[in-house]
């Protein structure tokens, strides 16, 4: 691992792990902690946090989303930077919390939500826009392909930031994914309500992933990876899903490290 400047020194960051990651993919928030601390940030984990609420709001359960919006405020209101490894959850906070707050007609709630939205970042946004880095000192000598995920692209609008972070990883080989911006078919409850269409879409995505002959499929959202990865695993594909944060957390082995 080369010398990495502590560009995050003095920055106190609240990690929003997300419920999906807490329940199924703890390696991803761990990786976020590792990357941010490596860059000098002080990372805190407000234990009041739960879920952004998109499974409720996107399914039309507005009343059921409101307590979660209040809980998000309780957990994170004291922080200048709230960072999450999910383009979709960032999008939910940014897009749906203000919409639902406005529906209540509560001006105070709207102001609080708007203020916290402005301090909520998807991991690539925080690294590139706030810390101003693309090289985070990562090492990952593998062939990968990148799926940009719909909500990262179209709601959170992270643009090419994840790609620029990947390009700066030492040893990595990035292969283009055909129809990369097409949906994988997850869509939250869509995958349960319309399982046949969802699987047909996931199969297309898995086929394009297979065509890349990549060792890893990278994305900024574990829900999409759960969907595509589920099909890849069923097909005994050689391509494994991995969250962007886990690649960024990976560093070149040192002598002591290699022996662990």
């Amino acid at each position: 691992m080369g010398q990495i400047e502590a560009v995050g020194a003095g920055k106190r960051v609240a990690l929003f792990a997300t419920c999906v990651n807490e329940a199924m993919f703890p390696g991803t928030p761990k990786a976020v902690v590792q990357v941010l601390e490596r860059l000098g940030c002080t990372v805190e984990f407000p234990s009041e946090q739960t879920c952004c609420g998109q499974v409720f709001s996107n399914s039309g359960y507005y009343d059921e989303t409101l307590p979660l919006i209040h809980n998000y405020l309780r957990a994170f209101e004291g922080y200048d930077y709230i960072v999450t490894p999910s383009g979709s959850c960032t999008g939910s906070v940014r897009d749906q919390h203000p919409m639902l707050a406005r529906r209540t007609g509560d001006a105070d709630l709207v102001a609080r939500v708007d203020a916290i939205v402005a301090r909520t970042y998807d991991l690539p946004e925080f690294l590139v826009d706030v810390l101003g880095v693309t090289d985070v000192g990562a090492y990952f000598p593998h062939r990968v392909t990148y799926h940009p995920t719909c909500h990262s692209l179209r709601i959170t609008k992270v643009g090419d930031k994840p790609y620029r972070l990947l390009e700066a990883v030492r040893g990595i080989e990035i292969v283009d994914l055909e129809d990369a911006d097409r949906c994988c078919g997850f869509g939250g409850t869509f995958s349960m309500k319309n399982p046949d269409v969802s699987v047909a879409m996931a199969a297309d995505k898995a086929r394009h992933v297979g065509d890349t002959e990549a060792e890893f499929l990278v994305a900024g959202d574990n829900s999409c990876l759960l969907n595509i990865g589920g099909v890849l695993a069923r097909q005994n594909s050689g391509t494994k899903p991995i969250h962007l944060a886990e690649i960024l957390a990976s560093v070149e082995p040192t002598l002591t490290g290699a022996q662990r």
Binding site: T28, S47, P141, F190, A202, F216, L226
Partner: protein, 546 residues
């Protein structure tokens, strides 16, 4: 029909008897090919219909090829304009103004149309619109040997099912758009707003023409192959006969200009121009949201529409008419302005954005769900994302198909990016889901026959309770390790097929093992861990087991 062959058929020497195929609702022989049985509104819910459509491999291939081609072409021609975003904003603003002041613009439109010599009729719903058209048609065909009309492709007339109303009244309505003709002759329903036969390939079209054309007029050539030019020629010959003897033509309108009383039809084949100019009587059925304030506003829409729909820079046949012209074209012109649920849409301040729609189909063409299942899964003449938000507003959410439509999307948002009038389709889908959920909550019996997940409202309520307090969620996760992770994690790292309802997920996908340590526990105790500061790369162990 886009090329320039102009030799008409010799004028008919006498009426060619229309062949008896099946019976209509009155037990009389049908005049036109019978569409599939049943009403669209009685279609199965989307998930069920989608499963049916997914089982049609030829259709899936046809759709994939066609959608990929049209999507790519659209992206290319849109990229040519550096003011595309300005045009979209202008289109949205004009339509918002129309919707906001619809009452005023409609009165102005009626005055302008009347001044230009067009007779204006108002229809509250489909039945009223059909009655008006049928009466006008019957009156004009009273002494004619051919009880028939020719039609320009029109979504409004499909929506009100005018063809069947005319059929019931003993009048044959002939579709003259090539793809509409394919759907009609194929005893089929259109599956796309713009390209109604997109689910068919050339071989299927040849088959339909060869089998059916002779039953309803001039037969297809015996040696017809599936070359596009020959298929187009067969349809030209078949339709020419009908164009030349038509007394009444029926159209829709893409735009109705309030200040000038001008109607505008945008089409690609010239069949529309034939209908609009050759008949004695022209009846245009127009949804009330089709009004634009001024003639100059067409400048915006005639740039937005072709690039968004057919991916063309300019539309091939753009017909504009402002009442009858002495000695040229139809002398008897009528407009039927149809509500049919549009004022219900207007009453919803969020949902009314759907009234901006100019029926370009760009949202269908980019929709990954539409591409998989095609238009027939939506139980409506309006499929795809716009159909999923418009149909349940026009028809309400009483039927199971209408309640399922807002959920027929993964909310990927691709439609939002291409809509030429910036309809926030993903947001409207969520809004309509909310309306469906509210109606389910209000009537538990509705939910019981609803979307399959009968217990959903109760489940969502419990989950909301769990997630509204970090302590509850933390307890649910487990103090150190999840129970599943502790026990099952020793045996396997993946789940295969699981019982219902999880089978909906696991029939085609594996699920990773739940973790054996909670993130919260790791975070609190990470100070004494070797992996606290960074994960050193070891080739065999990246990522969690998924």
């Amino acid at each position: 029909m886009t090329d320039t062959q102009t030799t008409p058929d010799a004028s008919p020497t006498g009426p060619r008897p229309l062949k008896l195929v099946t019976q209509n609702n009155h037990g009389r022989a049908r005049l036109t090919p019978a569409p599939p049985e049943g009403e669209l509104i009685d279609s199965p819910p989307f998930p069920e219909a989608a499963r049916r459509e997914l089982g049609l491999p030829v259709q899936r291939t046809n759709l994939r090829h066609a959608m990929t081609a049209i999507r790519t072409k659209r992206a290319d021609v849109v990229a040519e304009l550096d003011n595309w975003e300005d045009l979209r904003a202008a289109g949205a603003a004009i339509k918002d103004d129309v919707v906001r002041h619809l009452d005023r613009y409609l009165v102005q439109l009626e005055e302008s149309l009347t001044r230009a010599g067009t007779v204006v009729h108002w229809a509250r719903d489909a039945a009223e619109a059909n009655r008006i058209v049928v009466d006008l048609v019957k009156e004009r065909l009273v002494d004619e040997p051919y009880q028939e009309v020719v039609k320009v492709k029109s979504m409004a007339t499909q929506e009100i099912e005018l063809n069947e109303a005319l059929e019931d009244a003993g009048v044959a309505a002939w579709e003259t758009d090539l793809a509409e003709l394919i759907a009609q002759l194929g005893h089929d329903r259109p599956s796309h707003i713009l390209v109604p036969a997109i689910h068919r390939n050339r071989g299927e079209v040849r088959e339909i023409f060869t089998t059916e054309m002779g039953n309803y007029g001039k037969p297809a050539p015996a040696d017809l192959d599936s070359q596009p030019v020959n298929l187009a020629n067969a349809s030209r010959e078949h339709l020419r006969e009908k164009f030349m003897r038509a007394h009444v033509a029926i159209s829709g309108a893409n735009f109705a200009v309030a200040d000038s009383g001008t109607l505008c039809v945008v089409e690609s084949e010239g069949n529309g121009r034939m209908c609009l100019t050759l008949a004695d009587t022209l009846i245009s059925v127009v949804g009330i949201e089709k009004v634009v304030p001024t003639f100059a506003d067409l400048e915006v829409f005639l740039q937005l529409l072709p690039r968004s729909s057919t991916a063309e820079r300019m539309n091939p046949y753009t017909s504009l008419w402002t009442g009858p012209t002495d000695g040229d074209g139809p002398q008897d012109m009528h407009v039927v302005l149809v509500d049919n649920g549009r004022t219900n849409v207007l009453a919803d301040p969020v949902g009314r954005d759907a009234l901006r729609c100019i029926r370009c189909s760009a949202c269908l063409n980019v929709c990954p769900v539409y591409e998989k299942v095609g238009g027939h899964a939506y139980g409506s003449v309006y499929p795809g994302p716009i159909g999923a938000v418009l149909t349940p507003q026009l028809r309400g959410t009483a039927s199971s198909v209408d309640r399922s439509l807002p959920f027929a999307s993964s909310l990927c948002g691709a439609c939002n990016e291409v809509c030429p009038v910036k309809i926030p389709l993903a947001e409207l889908l969520v809004h309509m889901r909310h309306k469906v959920v509210e109606s389910k909550k209000a009537d538990p019996l509705v939910s019981a026959k609803g979307l399959g997940l009968h217990a959903e409202p109760a489940l969502m309520k419990s989950a909301s309770w769990l997630f509204s307090d970090g302590r509850r969620w933390s307890a649910a996760l487990g103090a150190e390790a999840t129970v599943g992770g502790k026990v099952l994690g020793r045996v396997t790292d993946h789940f295969g097929p699981l019982p219902w309802p999880l089978s909906k997920w696991t029939n085609a996908r594996d699920v990773p093992m739940v973790p054996d340590e909670t993130f919260r526990h790791w975070f609190e105790h990470r100070g004494d861990r070797p992996d606290a500061k960074g994960r050193e790369h070891l080739a065999s162990e990246e990522g969690d087991a998924r």
